[in-house]
Symmetry: C3
Subunit: 360 residues, 3 copies
């Protein structure tokens, strides 16, 4: 069985990472070649020449106009994956083409679809509109994680770890102390976890970026769209400030939208995309620099812990026990959703493999 | 089957290695967390939080008084392994506790018991009293060995290798030339190998430390307490000096007690603890420095050879042949003992695993 | 089944690599110890002491006259593999001897035979007489390849890759464009691939070494003697120059004999021996230096590509598809030959293993 849900959209890259250089990223174990046509469209195709499996992203492979030329023997492909030239003969075999992937640019991400092609259109890509909205300023990055994606999902669904792993950055005692509420939308595949702290210490991450000096009301509203997109709606306001209005406006608070895209690279490694969008100090470069640096430090604290945990788990027999408590409700719900999606994708995978054999 | 005898005491550390910092060492494949209480007692417990398996030795986990606080989500444990606090709720689950290990300090070592708890008390820990005796001065160290523990047992039970692998340090032609006598105490699990050289070259190790300039009588009396403790009673005297008296006194000789604790880390790696205790030049720092440096060099010669041998053996099919001769009698006897102890421990292991499942 | 043809001669080393130092090289998974006797004969034997498997090439093992002394316990062997001394006893066990390998020096190479000893004499070693002929000047080297040997065979049998992977060195557009002719001598186990370019650009490799400034006639005549020896007879002449005479003389052309010995080290690594022999500018050191450096660069371009390809193939499921076209005719023929030789060798292997058990 596949270790990932396959019939799903995944973030393969930031839009700004893909241009007129051949770019490769492994998604769910598949090596995807990404590049832009001269017209600016993103092309996504298998990063393996059909001839002898040479990676098309590997030097001296290169982009010539809207064609990819393999650096080993010169097999040449268009943006639709069709082979247009081979060495030593004029005739190109009829079946010579690369598998292509459905691909969409949205909200500053490049999303690809790894599973059965005909199910791509019926599946909506979850949104994170803040990332390219003019009403927000965003800092972002991607850190490679040498751990299975489920460990990052566990991590992000239970923010009580902020108090311990991220103390002095985003964690304060109130995060671990305050109980959560959890709701699961099974049909939509979304887990909601909320923690509303009425009177909490303001951690440096928010104190320095907002300028608040005293204690705060701090809301953490998580919205996890399994498998790939994690949203943390973070609302910060001085204690005693008025709450949001009935129409959704909320002038007395600072809002930070923390976005993670969790993309399995292999069974034991993950692309950890992170972005922090704020609705204040929009032009303030110092705030941007601070949030970028601070959030990256926090992400790298997670990466260090999860990389270690991956080693622990990989070295243990499968039956090593865990003990779960209330804080784990969201994480356990996410695991159930992911298991269901993975099982559904695995049936699909068999079908897809037969198809790709027929094509090549 | 376990690759180690499990129902046995093993040296996990020197006593001086364990203090008020969280310290971890893997023994027979189990990660053991070691620390001292404020009262100075050694605590030994599983180095894995029961919640999500995070290593309790890993930063930012920390010791607070006599409690260990997990650096991931703050699960907190006492020296008895019992969990005393968890995040987000006041109630601590009744079953929340870490597996602890029987532990004893003796002869400058910290010994732990990995197997069935109820058999620990009925098993005596072998002694090496010289190491903390005021009548001896000791230098010691520990070298990590990337080889299975059996290769180190083979190595130490057959000292003919001193002539070749340690020539110019502790080896002279007479060691390889002189036949050995071997006795096995099957009930006690002890192998004795003796080599008495009546008229031998004095190697630098003994010449420089004792000041003897001519040829020597050199006795090597090995006492291997399977699996973990190896003693080499080394007696050096100028040729012609009187032998030991009937009452055990032996004023005309120099005595060096070489002690190895052989602790399996994993199936393919070993903790190689070594100590050299002498009954002469007790206050002479130069002699101490020389013996420490010289013996460490010798140990590292073994480590280099055995690390290489591990690679050889790991790359070969299981049936690769050896040819054994007289010098191997002690090593072959040790292998038989270890095989018997391992088989006994493996029955035990099944039982133990069921118990630990019931606990967690 | 063995991944290699076993009943075959393989190049283990250049003759100049083997002297009065113990030298080891792994051939088809077997560690072979090579050294020269005082009379200058090459000895080839298992690089594992029969006692405890210590590598005889490993320090402090050493050569004493015409004997190898193991650095662990001093087991001593003659050039015929027979053990002549062991520690602690005068009697040497009758069966104590190392497996030796049939070995021959020819054409500057040391060839060894890994398979069934009695078939060695009936198998001819293919020739590359240019390498030590006074009528040629040769530069050579060996690059370790972290890829299965079959990938190097594929690479060398299809030179259309020169245009892409070696553009600017030995590749020009005409190589990939010009069709090949392929012939297979099944009985002899030889594949011939020829590509004759009548009017081609002269690549720097030939322009700088021959001094030709215009376009050339370029013949590439490959002769692959499976599994180990690959010959590329390269003929370069200015366009319009007379061809070879009926008697074989060919005064108006430059001849370069490119020789590869392809020796499997392990299932996933290969010794890539390469030599370039020329019949012009025999005394010109600058030409020698240029050809050595240029050809080594070309070989390292192959090594980088094939190392990458090995990683790709090793990470893929066995059924990953390839698409073959006309240029692959020679490579596919070579695969068939190698498969046949491997299957024949594997039957042999069983027999040989029983024999070596009987010996040791």
């Amino acid at each position: 069985m596949s270790p990932f849900p396959r019939n799903q959209w995944y973030v393969a890259a930031y839009a700004h990472e893909v241009g007129r250089e051949l770019f490769t990223r492994t998604v769910c174990g598949e090596s995807v070649l990404l590049w832009r046509t001269e017209a600016g469209e993103v092309a996504a195709m298998a990063d393996r020449c059909i001839h002898r499996r040479f990676p098309l992203s590997e030097t001296p492979s290169r982009l010539v106009g809207d064609s990819v030329v393999c650096g080993y023997h010169g097999f040449t492909y268009g943006a639709n994956g069709v082979c247009t030239a081979v060495p030593g003969q004029a005739r190109v075999p009829r079946t010579a083409r690369l598998n292509t992937y459905p691909v969409k640019e949205q909200d500053s991400f490049v999303w690809v679809w790894i599973g059965e092609r005909d199910k791509a259109d019926e599946t909506l890509i979850p949104r994170s509109p803040w990332l390219d909205s003019p009403r927000y300023t965003t800092v972002c990055g991607m850190e490679p994680l040498a751990a299975r994606y489920g460990l990052l999902v566990d991590n992000l669904l239970d923010l009580s770890h902020e108090t311990y792993l991220h103390g002095g950055y985003i964690g304060t005692p109130e995060v671990a102390e305050t109980p959560i509420t959890t709701e699961v939308d099974e049909a939509a595949g979304v887990v909601h976890v909320s923690r509303h702290m009425d009177d909490a210490e303001c951690p440096p991450f928010y104190a320095k970026s907002t300028g608040i000096t005293g204690r705060i009301t701090r809301w953490q509203d998580i919205e996890y769209h399994a498998p790939c997109l994690y949203l943390l709606h973070s609302r910060i306001a001085p204690v005693g400030a008025p709450g949001p209005n009935a129409d959704g406006s909320d002038l007395h608070a600072f809002h930070v939208e923390v976005v993670y895209a969790i993309t399995p690279e292999t069974e034991h490694s993950t692309h950890d995309f992170w972005a922090v969008a704020r609705d204040f100090a929009l032009e303030d470069q110092e705030v941007s620099d601070f949030l970028r640096e601070n959030n990256r430090t926090v992400v790298l604290q997670d990466v260090a812990a999860l990389d270690k945990l991956e080693q622990v788990i990989a070295s243990e027999s499968a039956g090593a026990q865990e003990l779960s408590i209330n804080i784990d409700t969201g994480g356990l719900a996410a695991r159930r959703l992911l298991k269901r999606l993975t099982e559904a994708g695995s049936e699909a995978r068999g079908t897809n493999e037969r198809q790709s054999l027929a094509v090549s």
